[in-house]
C-alpha cells in the first residue's frame, strides 16, 4: 500500500478496494514504527486523521467523494492549522496554536484529504539540510547518515520512506526541489502567486511559494489542482484561471525545445550528478525533444542577491516574535528590552539569528542602496535572463543541486550550505516554476533533474516531467528503509 502513488490510491478508494480508514491507519502505523528513526514529523495528528478518514468514507458512501477524498498527506509545519500546533521548526513557536488555517490547508480539507500531521523543517525554513530545526535533524531514508535536504526535509523524507503518499512543502530558494532531489521524489515549486501564501508562516514574502511533494509528477498535478488559485486574502496571489493539470500530462514531447544553461554545468557540479542529468536529457531527445545550450549570464549573482533580499524580508517578518503576544517568552523579564532580547535570544536558533542580523544590516541607513536596492536590480536582470531564454526554448533543464545528499553534520560553514542552492535560488528570484524529478543515483543517494518553465507553465512542466516518468523508472525506486518497515 505504502509504495503506491496518490493516483493509484485514489483509484483503489474509488473502486472500494480500500477504505480511507484502512489507508490512514496503515500510514499512521508506519509513522509510529519508523519515525523514531527518521524524525520527519514534529506533530502527528492520528485521532483527527482517523476522524477525517471516517468522514471521507462516509462522504464516499453518500456519493459525495471528490478525486482525492480520503487520501492521506502531511503538511510542512509552516502551514498554520487551526487548533494544531504550528512550530515552523522553532522553539519560538513550540507553543503556538493558530486560530485559523492556511488557505492551502482549507483547500485540502475541502477536497476531503486526510492530514496525518506536521512535518519537520529547517527553523523558519532557513536551511538546506533540515539540521537547523529545533526539533532535531531528519534522516534521509536512502541513507540514514545523510541529510534529507531542506528546508522541507521532513516532507521529503516522509514521502520517500512511504510514511505518507504525499506532502506539502514550501520553497523560498529551493526548499521543495532540493529535498525532493535528495530523497528521490518529485517536488514542484509553482510560479510565485499561483498558490496562496495566506496562513503560511512567512520567511521571505516575495519568494515564498507552497507546492506539492509526491512520488510522481502525476501526483503533483492532482495536488496542484487542489491548492492553486487566487485568494482574496493574499494580494500577491494571481487572479488567473487554473487549468486541470492532469489533462495535459500525456501531451507528446516531439518538438519540445530544451535549453541547458551552461552556467548550471560548471565548477562545483558533482560528476555523477552531471552524468545523471545528461542521461535524462538523452531520454528527452529520444522522446522527440531538441536540445541546445543557453546562457543565463547573471546566474552567479543569484546567491548574493538572494542573501540580501531574503534576510531583509525575514528580519522584518520575524520582528513579530517579540514575546509580547504569543510564542516563546523569557522568564521574569526585568524590563521591556530584557523581554525582547532574551525572548528572541532563547527562541531563535543560530541560522535564524544570522539571517536576521544580515537583513537588519542590509536595510540599515547608509547600506540600503548598496545592498537592497542593488540586489533588486540584480533580481530584475536574473528574471530577464530567464525570459530571454524562454524566447528560444520551452523549458530549461539542469541539476536540482550540485551534489547528492551530503552527510549529516558535514556542512559547518554557512556559506558552503548557501552554495547548495546555486541552481534553485535564481528560480525564486525570477518567480518562475520549477520541478525536481528523480533521475538516477550517486553512491546510493538520489539525483534530481530540475526542469524550469516560464511563469505559469506548471502544466507544461508536469507534462514534461510525467513523460520522463513514463519512459524511466527512477521515480519508482524505493529506499530499503521503506521496505523494511513492517
Amino acid at each position: 500500500m505504502h509504495d503506491k502513488t496518490v493516483t493509484q490510491l485514489a483509484a483503489a478508494l474509488k473502486s472500494g478496494e480500500l477504505s480511507s480508514r484502512e489507508l490512514t491507519s496503515h500510514f499512521l502505523q508506519r509513522i509510529e514504527k519508523a519515525d523514531g528513526t527518521l524524525n520527519s514529523f514534529i506533530t502527528v495528528t492520528a485521532e483527527q486523521a482517523l476522524n477525517q478518514a471516517e468522514a471521507a468514507d462516509n462522504a464516499r458512501a453518500a456519493g459525495k467523494a471528490g478525486k482525492l477524498t480520503g487520501i492521506p498527506f502531511a503538511l510542512k509545519d509552516i502551514f498554520c492549522t487551526q487548533g494544531i500546533k504550528t512550530s515552523c521548526g522553532s522553539k519560538m513557536l513550540d507553543n503556538f496554536i493558530a486560530p485559523y488555517s492556511a488557505t492551502v490547508v482549507e483547500k485540502l480539507n475541502a477536497a476531503g484529504t486526510i492530514s496525518l500531521g506536521k512535518t519537520n523543517m529547517d527553523e523558519f525554513a532557513m536551511g538546506s539540510s533540515n539540521e537547523s530545526s529545533y526539533f532535531g535533524a531528519v534522516k534521509n531514508p536512502w541513507d540514514l547518515t545523510a541529510v534529507p535536504g531542506g528546508s522541507s526535509g521532513g516532507s521529503a523524507a516522509a514521502v520517500a520512506a512511504g510514511l505518507v503518499p504525499a506532502a506539502m512543502g514550501t520553497d523560498t530558494g529551493g526548499s521543495i526541489r532540493q529535498p525532493a532531489a535528495f530523497c528521490g521524489i518529485t517536488g514542484l515549486k509553482p510560479t510565485y502567486g499561483r498558490v496562496s501564501r495566506y496562513g503560511i508562516i512567512a520567511y521571505a514574502s516575495s519568494l515564498d511559494q507552497a507546492g506539492p511533494m509526491a512520488k510522481s509528477a502525476e501526483d503533483c498535478a492532482h495536488l496542484l489542482n487542489v491548492i492553486a488559485g487566487h485568494d482574496v486574502r493574499d494580494s500577491t496571489s494571481v487572479s488567473r484561471g487554473v487549468p486541470d493539470y492532469t489533462e495535459t500530462l500525456n501531451a507528446p514531447l516531439s518538438g519540445l525545445k530544451i535549453g541547458l544553461p551552461k552556467e548550471y554545468f560548471g565548477d562545483g557540479l558533482d560528476a555523477d550528478v552531471e552524468k545523471a542529468v545528461l542521461e535524462a536529457v538523452k531520454v528527452y531527445e529520444s522522446l522527440g525533444a531538441t536540445v541546445r545550450e543557453v546562457s543565463l549570464p547573471h546566474t552567479h549573482y543569484a546567491i548574493p542577491a538572494y542573501y540580501v533580499i531574503a534576510p531583509a524580508e525575514a528580519s522584518s517578518n520575524l520582528s513579530r516574535y517579540d514575546g509580547v503576544r504569543f510564542g516563546h517568552r523569557c522568564d521574569a523579564p526585568a524590563d521591556l528590552i530584557d523581554l525582547y532580547t532574551r525572548s528572541r535570544a532563547e527562541g531563535f536558533g543560530d541560522e535564524v539569528k544570522r539571517r536576521i542580523l544580515i537583513g537588519t544590516h542590509t536595510l540599515s541607513e547608509g547600506f540600503f542602496d548598496a545592498y537592497y536596492t542593488k540586489a533588486q536590480k540584480v533580481r530584475r536582470l536574473i528574471r530577464q535572463d530567464f525570459l530571454d531564454a524562454f524566447e528560444d526554448v520551452d523549458v530549461l533543464m539542469g541539476p536540482a543541486s550540485p551534489t547528492p545528499a551530503f552527510d549529516l553534520g558535514a556542512k559547518k560553514d554557512p556559506v558552503s550550505m548557501y552554495l547548495q542552492d546555486i541552481y534553485t535560488i535564481a528560480v525564486n528570484l525570477a518567480g518562475i516554476p520549477g520541478i525536481s524529478v528523480p533521475a538516477g543515483f550517486s553512491n546510493g543517494r538520489p539525483v534530481g533533474l530540475q526542469i524550469l518553465g516560464t511563469h505559469f507553465a506548471e502544466a507544461q512542466l508536469l507534462n514534461v516531467a510525467h513523460q520522463f516518468q513514463q519512459a524511466t523508472d527512477w521515480h519508482l525506486q524505493r529506499p530499503a528503509f521503506a521496505e523494511e518497515i513492517a
Binding site: F79, C80, T86, C88, L93, F96, A98, P99, Y100, A102, R197, Y198, G199, I200, I201, A202, A204, S205, S206, V232, R233, D234, S235, T236, A312, E313, S315, S316, L318, S319, R320, D322, V324, R325, F326, L336, Y340, T360, L363, S364, E365, F368, Y372
Partner: protein
Amino acid sequence: MQWETVIGLEVHVQLATRSKIFSGASTAFGAEPNTQACAVDLGLPGVLPVLNEQAVAMAVQFGLAVHADIPEVSVFDRKNYFYPDLPKGYQTSQMYHPIVGAGDVEITLDDESTKRIRIHHAHLEEDAGKSLHEDFHGMTGIDLNRAGTPLLEIVSEPDMRSAKEAAAYLKAIHSIVTYLGISDGNMAEGSMRCDVNVSVRPKGQEAFGTRAEIKNVNSFRFVERAIAFEVERQIELIEDGGKVVQETRLFDPERDETRSMRTKEEANDYRYFPCPDLLPVVLDQAYLDHLRSQLPELPADKRARFQAELGLSAYDAHVLSASREMAEFFEEVQQVCGDAKQAANWVQGELSGALNRENLSIQNSPVSARQLGELINRVLDDTINGKAAKQVFQALWNGQGDSADAVIDAKGLKQVTDTGAIEVMIDQVIAESPAQVAQYRDSEPDKRGKMIGYFVGQVMKASRGTANPQQVNGLLKEKLDALL
C-alpha cells in the same frame, strides 16, 4: 534681535472607513480593549494584509481637494521598530512613493486675509495600538483595537510663521476632511492629531534653524500653546548662547510646556523597505475622474460663493463655511427665507448663541433649518416683529410647536398693524402718563426724540409685543406733537 518662527505640521487623520486598512476588523471607537483586533491586527504568523479600497479612495479625494498631484503608482513600505503596541514589529506606511503628491491649502487668518500653505505630500499608513500605563500596577496594558486603523498623514511644507497660522492650517485641514466626510475629525478621540516641527531664525535669515518636533498634539488650542512655549524656549536658549538640538519633544498641556523625549542620536533607524505582501497601488485616470466627480463643494469654494453670490461679508462667509454642517444649515435657511443676510445673522446670532449655551453641535440643533427659515420669513413679511421673533425662536427651541406659524398662532404674537387698534393703545398710554407727557412737552425739541422711547415701550407692553414698532413710533410722534 528679531526672530522669525518657522513651522511645519504633520497631521494624522484617521479615515472614517468601516473596517481597518488591511483587515476586516471594525474601526469603531470605544469598544472593550482587544475586541476589535483580528489575526491580521494581532500580527499572528502567516496572516497577510489586504488593502481597504475605501481608504485609497478617501486619500485620493483629499489629494484632489488640495489640488495635489496624484501619482499613478504608490507603494507601501514597512517602517521597522519594536514596540509592544506595534504587533508586527513594523508599521505599514508609505515612505518613497506616497499616494498624494504636492498640493496646497488656503488658510484664513483673524484679519480675514488668506495665505497658501503648501503640502509636501500625504501618505496612507496604519495606526498602532495603545499602551495603557494606568491601572496595571507597574505593568503596561496593550489595547490593539486601534491597530490597523487607516491614517492619512498630511505633511506640510515649513510655510507657517506663527502659532496662529499653524492653528488656522490645522482648522483648514479639519474643515476639508470633514467636508469630504473622510474623517469625523474628532480630536478628543484622537481622530486627528499632529506633530509640530518648530524652529526659529533671525528675521531676514534664509537658512532654517534647527527644529524640534513636538509629537502628538491633539487640539487646536494645544497646537498654539505648544508652539508658543517652544518658540520662547528656543529663542531664550539661543539668546543665552545655547544651541537648539534636533529632537522629539512632548507637549504637556497640564504644565503648558514641552519636554524632551529623544534626541536625534537616540532616534530609530526604521529600515524602510517596500512591503512584499502588498502590490503597488495603481490608479488610472478614469478612477481619478470618477472620484473628482464625487467631490462636494469645498470650504474655500463655498466661502467664495457666499461672498460673490450671496453678498456675505468675508467674515460671515468664513464663519459659515468653516464646517460642512454649519454651511449646509445656513444654506437651507437661506433657501427657505431667500435672505442671505438675515439667514447669516440668525445662524451666527440667536442659533449659535443657543447652541453654545447648551454645548450642542449644529447637527443636533432643536430648531431645524426649515423652521428657522420660516421664522425669518414671518419677520420679513411683517407678520411678527423682531422681538416676537426671538420669543418664537425660544419656543421652537423648547419644542413648543412644530413651526413658526404654529407658535405665532398659539401665543398670539401676530403683529398688530391695524392703525386704529394701535391708536387706541397710544391714546390710553398718553392718558395714563400725564407726568411723562408734561416732561415731553417741556423738553427741548432735540431731546424729545429720546424721550419718545418711554411711550413706545409702554405701547409695546400694552400690545404684548405684537404692535409694529415702526407704526407705533410714527403715530406716537404725531399724537405727542399734536399736544404741544
